[in-house]
C-alpha cells in the first residue's frame, strides 16, 4: 500500500527520500528490510481501519463533530466532584504547559533539560510548603495510586500487612487501593479494613478505630477533608493511635484546601498523599487525575519511594545549582523486580502545570481560595437544606463537598439528576454504592460557583421534588 502524497507527519514519505535511503543501504526494497520476520508471522490481510483523514481540514471537522456530542461543564452548570473537581485553570498555566519544550519530549541530561528539572523541583518545593514536609517525590498516576504505593511503602517498612481506612472512603480510590493491596490469595496481600465513622458528624469513630488497630496494623489512612466533605478534626488523635502501635499514619489531602487547613505533618502525618488535579489541571473526563507522595526527609522513608525524585545539586561552577535524579537506582528502572514496586511514565506534565499554578497562587491565593470554598460550601449546605425534603447529612466543618440526602423527597438520585440535566445542570455523584448513603448525592462547590448558581440549583430542586 502507498499513500497518495507525502504525509505532513512523515518527512521521508517521498519517493526520492526512500530511493536515496535504499540506495545507501544497498537494499532492493523496503519489504526486504523486514527479512527477520518469518512469513508465517506476517499479517497479509487488509487492515480494517476507517478512511484516512490526512488533511487537517478534514480531521478537524471530524474531531469537532465527535467532541460536539459531549455536553461540558462550561456550557452546563456542574456540581460533580468526588475525585475530579472543576476549578479555574488560569490561561497562563495552559500557555506554560503547552510549550513545546515541556510538551513534546521525554527527558535529556541534567544540563540540557535544566529548565524542566527546575520546574519539577519547584513543584515538589511548593507542594512541600503546603503540606509541611521536606521529601516530595515526582508525581504518580493518581491519588488512588498514591494511596496504594504509600500503603505498600508502609508494609515494606514495618512488615505488617493490614491498613485501616475510613468506611466513608471514596469507592473509586478504594477500588484502586484494593488492587495495590493485592487480593486474598496473592502473595503480598494487604488486608484493607474499614473503620466506622460517626453518622452524625462524618468524623472517624475513634472507638471503632481503637477496637481494630493493633500490632498487626501497618498503616492507618484517612483523608482531610474526607470524601464526604467533612474536615476530620481528630487528626492528631488518629496519628497518635497509629504511632502507639508502630503503624504509619498516612493522610490524603486535596492541596487546594491547605491555605486554610492545617498542614497534615503538623497533626502527625508520616506520609502524605493526595491529588494534584486541583492545582491547575483540566478535568479532561478524568484524564486530569494525578497524585503525589511525600514524607519527612528521613532515610527510612526515602529509601522506599517508588517514584523518581529530583534533587538540587551543585554544578562545576561555584555557586551554581542544577538538578539531578535522586535514589533512581531503587526504582524498577534500576533493579527490575527487586526495585520498589514499579516506575514508568506518570503525569509529569501536570507537575509543570501545578508548579505554575502554585506560583500564581502564592500564600494569599491559597488562603483566599480556601476561604471562598469554605464560605460557598457552607452557603450551599444552608440554602439547599431549606429545600423541602432535602437534608445535608453533615453541616459542620465542610470543605467543597456536601452530602445531600433526598430520601424524604421520595425521589431517587438518578431521577433527580435526570431532571436537573434537562435544565442544563449536572447533579452530584450518586452515593448509592456507599453503604448507608442510599438516596444521597455528593455535591461539590468551588470558587467557580456563584450564589446565583446555588440559588438556581435550589430552585430547580424545589420544582423537581414537589
Amino acid at each position: 500500500m502507498t499513500v497518495e502524497s507525502a504525509h505532513p507527519w512523515m518527512a521521508n514519505s517521498t519517493p526520492e527520500a526512500k530511493a536515496a535511503m535504499l540506495r545507501k543501504i544497498g537494499a532492493p526494497s523496503i519489504e526486504s528490510l523486514f527479512a527477520q520476520i518469518p512469513e508465517d508471522h506476517r499479517f497479509r490481510g487488509t487492515l480494517d481501519l476507517p478512511p484516512a483523514l490526512a488533511s487537517e481540514v478534514a480531521l478537524k471537522r471530524h474531531m469537532l463533530g465527535l467532541l460536539k456530542k459531549n455536553a461540558d461543564c462550561e456550557t452546563n452548570l456542574s456540581f460533580l466532584g468526588a475525585g475530579i473537581w472543576q476549578h479555574h485553570v488560569p490561561a497562563v498555566v495552559d500557555e506554560i504547559a503547552g510549550r513545546s519544550e515541556f510538551l513534546t519530549n521525554v527527558w535529556g541530561t541534567p544540563m540540557s533539560d535544566h529548565g524542566r528539572n527546575q520546574a519539577w523541583f519547584e513543584f515538589c518545593s511548593q507542594l512541600g510548603e503546603l503540606i509541611g514536609l521536606e521529601f516530595v517525590g515526582l508525581p504518580v498516576y493518581s491519588w488512588g495510586c498514591a494511596i496504594g504505593y504509600a500503603v505498600r511503602m508502609a508494609a515494606r517498612m514495618n512488615g505488617r500487612r493490614e491498613v485501616l481506612v475510613p468506611a466513608s472512603m471514596d469507592p473509586e480510590r478504594l477500588d484502586v487501593l484494593r488492587q495495590y493491596a493485592e487480593p486474598e490469595g496473592s502473595a503480598g496481600h494487604i488486608a484493607v479494613v474499614p473503620v466506622a465513622f460517626d453518622a452524625a458528624t462524618g468524623l472517624l469513630d475513634l472507638a471503632d478505630l481503637k477496637s481494630k488497630i493493633s500490632a498487626r496494623t501497618g498503616a492507618v489512612y484517612f483523608e482531610n477533608p474526607g470524601f464526604l466533605g467533612v474536615i476530620e478534626t481528630q487528626g492528631a488523635a488518629i496519628a497518635a493511635m497509629a504511632r502507639a502501635v508502630g503503624a504509619e499514619c498516612i493522610v490524603g489531602v486535596d492541596p487546594i484546601s491547605l491555605g486554610v487547613l492545617a498542614p497534615p505533618a503538623e497533626y502527625g502525618a508520616d506520609l502524605v498523599v493526595g491529588t494534584i488535579q486541583t492545582l491547575g489541571v483540566h478535568m479532561s473526563c478524568g484524564g486530569g487525575a494525578g497524585g503525589f507522595i511525600a514524607s519527612r526527609d528521613e532515610e527510612r522513608y526515602a529509601r522506599e519511594y517508588p517514584t523518581l525524585n529530583i534533587s538540587i545539586a551543585p554544578t562545576v561552577n561555584r555557586g551554581e545549582w542544577g538538578f539531578a535524579l535522586s535514589l533512581s537506582h531503587q526504582s524498577s528502572y534500576g533493579m527490575r523486580e527487586e526495585g520498589k514496586d514499579w516506575t514508568g511514565n506518570s503525569v509529569y506534565l501536570h507537575a509543570i502545570a501545578a508548579s505554575a499554578y502554585m506560583t500564581l497562587m502564592g500564600p494569599k491565593g491559597f488562603a483566599e481560595i480556601g476561604e471562598r470554598i469554605l464560605q460557598r460550601t457552607a452557603h450551599a449546605a444552608n440554602l439547599l437544606g431549606n429545600v423541602k425534603g432535602v437534608r445535608p447529612r453533615f453541616t459542620q466543618g465542610l470543605f467543597k463537598e456536601v452530602v445531600l440526602d433526598f430520601t424524604a423527597t421520595g425521589r431517587s438520585v438518578s431521577a433527580i439528576n435526570k431532571a436537573l440535566l434537562a435544565q442544563g445542570m449536572f447533579g452530584g455523584r450518586d452515593l448509592s454504592d456507599l453503604p448507608g448513603f442510599e438516596g444521597c448525592a455528593l455535591y461539590a462547590f468551588t470558587e467557580i460557583h456563584t450564589a446565583e448558581d446555588v440559588r438556581r440549583l435550589a430552585t430547580a430542586l424545589t420544582e423537581i421534588v414537589t
Binding site: 500500500m1 507527519w9 512523515m10 535511503m21 543501504i25 523496503i30 520476520i37 506476517r42 487488509t46 481501519l49 484516512a52 483523514l53 474531531m63 459531549n70 462550561e74 460533580l80 506554560i96 510549550r99 519544550e101 515541556f102 510538551l103 513534546t104 519530549n105 544540563m111 533539560d113 524542566r116 518545593s125 510548603e129 503546603l130 514536609l133 521536606e134 491519588w143 488492587q179 487480593p183 502473595a187 491547605l258 487547613l261 492545617a262 473526563c285 478524568g286 487525575a289 538540587i312 551543585p314 551554581e320 539531578a324 527490575r336 514499579w342 509529569y348 506534565l349 506560583t359 502564592g362 494569599k364 491565593g365 483566599e368 471562598r372 469554605l374 464560605q375 460557598r376 452557603h379 456563584t450
Partner: protein
C-alpha cells in the same frame, strides 16, 4: 555528503528557584469576593474547626501573573526538548499534532467530568469505542481498556487480569511465576513482582534472544504468564515467538505481548495472530500522544474474549440503538486507576490514527525500519562505535543498539560524555539502555517515521564529530557541555541523605548558607 555540524548555544538565564522570587503582597491570581448572602454566614475562621486551622501561611513565592509567565518561559528556554533533533530510542519520538492539542483545550474535552451522565459523554465514549476498534484491527485482540496511565501501568493491568483469571480457575497462589527475558522492559518483571508473582528472567543466547530450551525449562505448572517484547531494543526480531507462545499456552499460562516496540511492525504482524492472549500499546509514543516529560500517558491494554470479563471497570459498550454506555465486565478485577484513564490522550491517539489511516500506518512502519537501517550504515562506519550483536546479519527493525566501548577504550570517553557533548550541537542526548547494560557504553537511537533523511544525516554527523573530538581533544568532550544553561551537575550528593534535597525547605536545612546565596 554529511553536513558539517554546527554548535548551538542554549539560553542561560541564571534563573533562581521560584521559592526565592517575588515580593511580599504581590498577587498572581485573585478570586471573586463572595456575595453578601454568602458573607452573612459569618467569619470564615468559624467554618474551620479550631484544631484544623492553618496557623502559618505557606512560604510560597508571591508573584504577579506576568512574572510567573516569564519565569516558566525562561525555564522552557533552558530545555533542549526536541527543538533540535531527538532520536531518543525506545520512546519513538513523534510530532504531536497541534490540532489535537487545541482540541484538548476545548471545553468539550477539557471541561468534562468523568462522572457525567453517559448521555452527555457520547462524543468521548464514541472516540473510545472507535479507537478500541482500531486497536483491535491492528492487534487481532477482542477488547481494549485505556484505564492504565502508561506502558508500565498496562503491564500492571496484565498481572492484575492474570490474577483474576487464575482466581476464576482456582489457580491463584498455585501458578505464581511469571517468565520474562533480560531484554524485556523492567516494567514487566517489576509489575509482576508488585502483583505477588515470582519472576523468572531468561538470559540471552545465540541470535540475541533466549533459547527455546531455556524457555521450556522455565515453564511448568507454576507458570502464570509469559511477559515478553519483540523486537527487542537491539532491533532483533525473535523468529521463534510463535513457538514461545505455543509452549506457554501448552503449560497452561497466559502470553502477554509488550508491544512497546510496535513502530516497526505496525500492520506487519498482529499479536493475536501469533497466539498471544493480551498485548499493550503506548499511545504516548506509537500513536502520537505527547510525552509531556513523562506523561500523562496511556497504556492501551488489549486481550482475547476469554480475558475480557476480567478487565478493569468500566468498559465502553455500544447499544443496539447506536448509543454508547459504560458497562462493568462480569468478573472485573476492579480498577488500576480512577475513572476511564487519560481519555484526553486517547482522543489524541485516535486523531493520529485517523490522520494516518491504514496506508499511513503501514508507511510509518516501513519508514521506521528504512530510516533505522539507513542510520546504521552511517553509524557503523564511525571509528569508536560498535554495533550490538555483530554476529547477527541482515537488516534490523526500527532501532539498533550501539556501544562506544571501543571509543572508551581508546580515549576514555564513554557514552555519557558523548551525549553531553552532542547537546552542544543542539542534539538531545540519546537513550542509552535499560539496566543491566548488555552492551558496553550503550546508546539506542530510533528515527521512526518522523525525522527526515537530513535530520538523520545531521545526527550521524554529530556522533562522528564528537567521536573525532574524543580522539583529538578528549578533554573538550570530557568537560562538556560547554553551551548549556548550566555547567555539569555534580550529582553524587543526590544519593547522600545528608545532602539530597527534593524540596527547597530540605535544601535550606541541609545547605543553609548555599541556599541563602542561591536566593540572591
Amino acid at each position: 555528503m554529511s553536513p558539517a555540524p554546527k554548535l548551538y548555544r542554549q539560553a542561560s538565564w541564571h534563573e533562581p528557584v521560584v521559592m526565592a522570587l517575588g515580593a511580599p503582597g504581590r498577587r498572581g491570581l485573585l478570586f471573586p469576593a463572595v456575595e453578601s448572602e454568602v458573607a452573612a454566614l459569618g467569619d470564615t475562621a468559624s467554618l474551620v474547626p479550631a484544631s484544623m486551622r492553618r496557623r502559618n501561611a505557606p512560604a510560597l513565592p508571591e508573584m504577579t501573573e506576568h512574572d510567573t509567565l516569564r519565569h516558566y518561559l525562561r525555564l522552557s528556554q533552558q530545555i533542549l526538548g526536541m527543538v533540535g533533533i531527538s532520536l531518543f530510542g525506545t520512546c519513538t519520538m513523534k510530532y504531536n499534532p497541534r490540532m489535537s492539542e487545541a482540541m484538548g483545550l476545548r471545553p468539550q474535552m477539557a471541561a468534562l467530568h468523568p462522572l457525567q451522565d453517559a448521555s452527555t459523554l457520547q462524543g468521548v465514549l464514541e472516540i473510545l469505542w472507535n479507537f478500541d476498534n482500531i486497536l483491535r484491527a491492528l492487534s487481532g485482540m477482542d477488547r481494549f481498556t485505556f484505564q492504565a496511565a502508561g506502558g508500565a501501568d498496562a503491564a500492571y493491568t496484565h498481572v492484575c487480569v492474570t490474577r483474576g483469571w487464575l482466581a476464576s480457575r482456582g489457580e491463584l497462589g498455585e501458578r505464581d511465576e511469571i517468565v520474562t527475558s533480560i531484554q524485556a522492559h523492567p516494567c514487566n518483571p517489576a509489575t509482576a513482582a508488585a502483583a505477588g508473582f515470582k519472576v523468572i528472567t531468561l538470559p540471552l543466547e545465540e541470535g540475541g534472544y533466549p533459547s527455546l530450551d531455556a524457555l521450556r525449562a522455565s515453564l511448568g505448572p507454576r507458570t502464570a504468564a509469559l511477559m515478553i517484547g519483540n523486537p527487542d531494543d537491539m532491533g532483533i526480531y525473535n523468529p521463534q515467538m510463535k513457538e514461545w507462545v505455543r509452549l506457554t499456552k501448552e503449560a497452561g499460562a497466559l502470553a502477554f505481548y509488550d508491544h512497546a516496540n510496535f513502530n516497526g511492525v505496525m500492520g506487519k504482524i498482529r499479536a493475536r495472530d501469533l497466539g498471544f492472549d493480551a498485548c499493550m500499546f503506548m499511545l504516548h509514543k506509537t500513536f502520537g500522544g505527547p510525552k509531556g516529560g513523562g506523561g500523562p500517558a496511556v497504556g492501551a491494554y488489549g486481550c482475547s474474549a476469554e480475558l475480557e470479563p476480567f478487565l478493569p471497570r468500566p468498559l465502553v459498550a455500544k447499544r443496539s440503538d447506536g448509543s454508547f454506555a459504560l458497562d462493568v465486565p462480569a468478573h472485573s478485577v476492579g480498577k488500576v486507576r480512577e475513572f476511564l484513564g487519560n481519555v484526553h490522550i486517547v482522543m489524541r491517539a485516535y486523531a493520529w490514527a485517523r490522520g494516518m489511516g491504514a496506508a499511513g500506518i503501514h508507511e510509518a512502519s516501513d519508514l521506521s525500519v528504512l530510516a533505522n537501517n539507513y542510520m546504521q550504515k552511517g553509524l557503523s562506519a564511525i571509528r569508536g562505535v560498535a554495533v550490538s550483536n555483530p554476529d547477527v546479519e541482515g537488516p534490523r527493525m526500527e532501532m539498533t543498539r550501539y556501544g562506544v566501548g571501543p571509543l572508551k577504550q581508546d580515549t576514555g570517553i564513554g557514552v555519557v560524555e558523548l551525549g553531553n557533548r552532542m547537546t552542544d550541537y543542539g542534539i538531545d542526548a540519546p537513550w542509552l539502555s535499560h539496566e543491566p547494560w548488555v552492551v558496553p557504553e550503550p546508546f539506542t537511537p530510533e528515527a521512526g517515521e518522523l525525522w527526515s533523511k537530513e535530520d538523520i544525516d545531521t545526527w550521524v554527523a554529530v556522533v562522528a564529530k564528537v567521536c573525532e573530538e574524543a580522539y583529538s581533544d578528549p578533554d573538550l568532550v570530557r568537560t562538556a557541555p560547554h553551551h548549556a544553561a548550566i555547567g555539569k551537575v555534580l550529582a553524587e550528593g543526590c544519593e547522600d541523605p545528608a545532602r539530597w534535597a527534593t524540596t527547597w525547605r530540605a535544601f535550606q536545612r541541609k545547605h543553609g548558607d548555599a541556599a541563602r546565596q542561591a536566593a540572591e
